[in-house]
Amino acid sequence: MSTRDETFSLMSRRAVIGGLAAAPLGLAASRAAAQGSGPIRIGELNSYGRMAAFAVPYRNAMQLAQDAVNKAGGIKALGGRPIEIVFRDDGSTPGDATRVAEELLTRENVAFLCGTFLSNVGLAVADLANQRKALFLATEPLTDALTMGSGNRYTFRVRPNTYMQTRMLVEAVKDRGIKRWAIVAPNYEYGQSAAANFKRLMTAAVPGFEVVGEQFPALGKVDAGATVGALSQMKADGLFNVLFGADLTAFVREGNTRGLFEKRTVASLLTGEPEYMIPLGDETPEGWITTGYPWETIEGNGHKEFVTAYRARFNDTPRLGSLLGYVVVGMIRDMLEKAGSTDTEAMIAALEGLTSQTIAGPVTMRALDHQSTLGAWIGETALNGRQGTMRQVRYADGADYMFPEAEVKAARKA
């Protein structure tokens, strides 16, 4: 799958072995040295096997963007060197991922790391990057900890985190006058932290806000009938949903049949993303307020051209992963142009505060917490024929939903 040139990789591997016999300290130096000529190698690790619904469209768009960058003359600040992304499966566990990351750094001789899907994998690789003093661009993991309590100066994150996405939803529902809410979330860090953020932000925004009940089904094992039954019993006026994937489909079907969503406002994280919307098909509930990526309605910033190119090359519609992959490569190009070097410190300096013009609009990498201002689209779910879609869509610029600076400073003081 990877497009790497075998002869090159063998040569550089031997060069590294020579440089490494001495001591681990020599590592960083030899990495910079071996990056002197040829393509700029970027180590991308992701769950291409187990999370293929997200990761494969993501990789597709990265390849599309990589070819576009190279066709346009490569990285001009580095003498037109092309970029070359080395893709690796991260095994979906932190143990495997950190080993793969080491392999990319020591053998494949990459300038920096990017990728990861699962939050635990992202955090482990981030910590490894900190330890090995290598740049890590965490693209997908959502956990707040990555840029807050567990943040470090070598790690940057692209996607809007759980807090930002929840805050976008809270903004959208707070003026509807609904006070009695029920919460359903998968029982793991993402679900629990989304629920906690929701409670905190709603308490501040809506006087009289109250949570009348919560359900935390096990991830991937939702007992939809029992969960929907328990939620109906709570007689809430609003429902905040964090379920996604197969859990979401099972939950929606059960809820539709039992009328759980009738006469209730539902605020739902991520449901508008094509990855999760497509399996819902003609059962997509109407009128849920959600974050997502309605690719067919987005104009401007070259997004339409991106969609055309993507569909032409892969004969498939873009997913959120595709958007992210394309945006990430653009940011990488801008970072390298600004840094003019593949030295880790130069790249960090370039990335902090860097603003990129992306197909989602301008995105800035905030220096304070290394969180990008990439936003998400907010709207209501709707049925279009037999497929779900979003209506009344607006782009919520991540810059308006970032963690307050004081909170960041308190969390990252370590």
Partner: protein, 628 residues
């Protein structure tokens, strides 16, 4: 609480129970006859769902009617049954004569292969199936709506139970199944064609799994994670009911269904633990499950699955072991930084696998949850270093084996009361409880995110220094454990393994010996876990999960369960293989599965076992023949 709500919640529980029973009945029948713990049963379930979401819509296009829908469901079940036959004929039949654990390993290879094949064939996107015609709506019950389809599901469970009863009591095939469940050897001795019986049993079992999956398509989308999420539940049901007992599975499924439906009202956050806690309680009170019987074989002398006889190192072996150790210690001088990393991991896994071999090969205690103690060690070390104590690495590495030993002593107290497959299942239950606690108790364990920043003290932070630290500790622990195997304690454990009654008769306290052995193995795994945490810099629940437990078992079995040092070879082989295969393709699980099955077929006694056989020391052959 509103009584109508309680009725509806109970109905929801019945619908889940019914689905669970259909799947678990197949698992329990297959186990009863073949004695194979069939991990691939979850894969059959998943295939049932995927085939149904492909087949049923086509049939509905021809005729949009409930008849077409259920015809499609039945066809899917039969197709999965045929796949089950293929697995039996192509794979399982070839390994009935090897230790039963190897068959488990082979079925796990099938799991890996099916997982990736499903991704390849159906793509990564979840596929929602069609709803059943005329059953889309909700039925008004006591003023609340309840899905009509789930009422049908509630009826399916008893229907399948009734049909299975008829099959078991009114057909020759059923009589043979019951006979084989009671005493397989006797059925063979009476001239029954066992190959055909096994093939048909696999067909029946796989069909039931496929039926279970196909029936789910209006409720759950077909997705590539279904297999492992159902297999643990199916295990729980069969174990609570008593392995091999169909009515037992029915009662157990009812219990679990209701526990889930009402448990989430009282403890919305701990449902994952509840099920396994129920299983642990049942096994502690009734060691063979609710309807199970003591294994027929337990009164008979069975050929041991483990190290048959100890052989001290001869000069040639000493030279070989010395050479291997020297080669390993020279890795930092010869290999690059990455090789050092992989070698460190192999050393750690070697210790974990060796401690498991101590349990399985010496003690005869097959653990499906050994990663729990590996994980306990890792968590103890990680939380000590990063928590409020900010303890140094040295203290954490001391605490890791102690914490794991404490956990092993606690769980082991209950575990060693059981034997055979029930013991294995209880280890699985405790393993899952540890996993659930690590996964869901976010405040303390960091949940699935785990805890990062678990790095060694500065003096040991270099890759090479840490490698030698791991080498020193792992090799010392391995040598000590080996010493225990050759000490009277080890001999007592083996005596208890081969015949608990005879060991008791000569005055050995079997239970205490096993309990101490379990604790010791837990401590060694905990040390490995602590070392692993500092190598990776983080801890997270995958360190306690079933996949890692299975990895350890694979290492033991691939290396050779009948040899003392085989698991070390197995750890090196398996980890190096995984490392070599992973960068090649994202379908590396497929290659790994094929490699595991190839190893089982080519070296049914493991790599080290094969090496011994080649050298003409055929001590291990006799018991294998005896088990035929």
């Amino acid at each position: 609480m509103d009584p109508s709500f309680l009725v509806l919640q109970a109905l929801s529980g019945l619908a889940s129970a019914s689905s669970l029973f259909v799947i678990a009945s197949g698992l329990t029948i297959v186990f009863g006859v073949t004695r194979i713990v069939n991990f691939a049963h979850g894969s059959f379930y998943m295939l049932g769902a995927y085939i149904a979401v492909t087949l049923v819509p086509r049939l509905l296009d021809l005729s949009y009617s409930p008849a077409a829908f259920f015809l499609g469901v039945l066809l899917s079940a039969l197709l999965v049954g045929l796949i089950g036959v293929a697995v039996e004929v192509l794979l399982l039949r070839r390994i009935y004569r090897v230790p039963e654990l190897f068959q488990l390993l082979a079925t796990f290879g099938v799991v890996l292969i099916v997982e990736d094949l499903v991704l390849k064939i159906w793509g990564p996107v979840d596929i929602a199936g069609p709803r059943a015609p005329s059953l889309r709506h909700g039925v008004e019950i006591l003023g609340q709506r309840f899905p009509a389809y789930e009422l049908v599901l509630i009826a399916v469970g008893p229907l399948v139970l009734g049909l299975l009863w008829l099959l078991m009591h009114r057909t020759r095939f059923g009589v043979l199944i019951r006979a084989a469940t009671q005493d397989r050897e006797m059925v063979g001795a009476l001239g029954v064609n066992q190959a055909r019986l096994f093939t048909l049993t696999l067909f029946l079992g796989a069909s039931l799994a496929g039926l279970g999956g196909a029936l789910q398509i209006p409720r759950v989308p077909a997705n590539a994670h279904m297999d492992l999420s159902i297999i643990t539940d199916a295990f729980v049901v069969t174990v609570i009911g008593g392995m091999g007992s169909v009515p037992g599975a029915f009662v157990a499924a009812l219990l679990i269904g209701q526990l889930q439906a009402f448990g989430i009202l009282i403890f919305p956050k701990v449902t994952l633990v509840l099920v396994f806690a129920l299983m642990a309680v049942v096994l502690v009170v009734k060691p063979w499950g609710l309807f199970g019987r003591p294994e027929a074989a337990s009164g008979r002398v069975m050929p041991p699955e483990g190290i048959p006889s100890l052989r001290r190192f001869r000069p040639a072996d000493v030279a070989l072991a010395g050479l291997a150790a020297a080669a390993l210690l020279a890795v930092p001088l010869l290999g690059d930084a990455y090789k050092v990393k992989v070698a460190t991991e192999i050393l750690i896994f070697a210790l974990a696998a060796f401690s498991l071999q101590f349990l399985v090969g010496v003690g005869g205690l097959v653990s499906f949850g050994h990663a729990a103690y590996f994980g306990l060690g890792a968590y103890a070390a990680g939380l000590l270093v990063t928590g409020p104590l900010k303890a140094p690495m040295e203290l954490a590495l001391l605490a890791a084996p102690l914490a794991a030993a404490a956990g092993a002593a606690l769980f082991g107290f209950f575990i060693v009361r059981l034997s055979g497959i029930y013991l294995a299942m209880l280890t699985l239950a405790f393993g899952q409880i540890v996993y659930a606690i690590c996964f869901q108790w976010v405040e303390v364990t960091g949940g699935d995110n785990g805890v990062v920043g678990v790095w060694p003290s500065s003096w040991a932070s270099g890759r090479i220094t840490y490698f030698y630290l791991v080498a020193a500790l792992s090799l010392t622990a391995i040598v000590l454990l080996r010493r225990v195997i050759y000490a009277p304690f080890g001999y007592s454990l083996r005596a208890a393994r081969d015949s608990a009654t005879r060991a008791e008769a000569i005055g050995l306290d079997v239970r205490t010996h096993r309990w101490l052995g379990f604790t010791l193995a837990g401590a060694a795994a905990g040390l490995a876990g602590g070392l692993y945490a500092f190598l990776k810099g983080s801890i997270d629940p995958t360190l306690t999960g079933i996949p890692l437990s299975i990895d350890f078992l694979v290492m033991v079995l691939v290396g050779g369960i009948q040899t003392v040092m085989g698991p070390l070879v197995g750890a090196a082989f398996f980890h190096a293989l995984k490392d070599a295969v992973m960068p090649l393709t994202e379908f590396w699980r497929l290659l790994l599965g094929i490699a595991i099955i190839a190893t089982v077929l080519a070296f049914p006694r493991g790599l080290a076992g094969a090496a011994e056989a080649i050298r003409g020391r055929t001590v291990a052959r006799k018991p294998v023949e005896a088990s035929a």
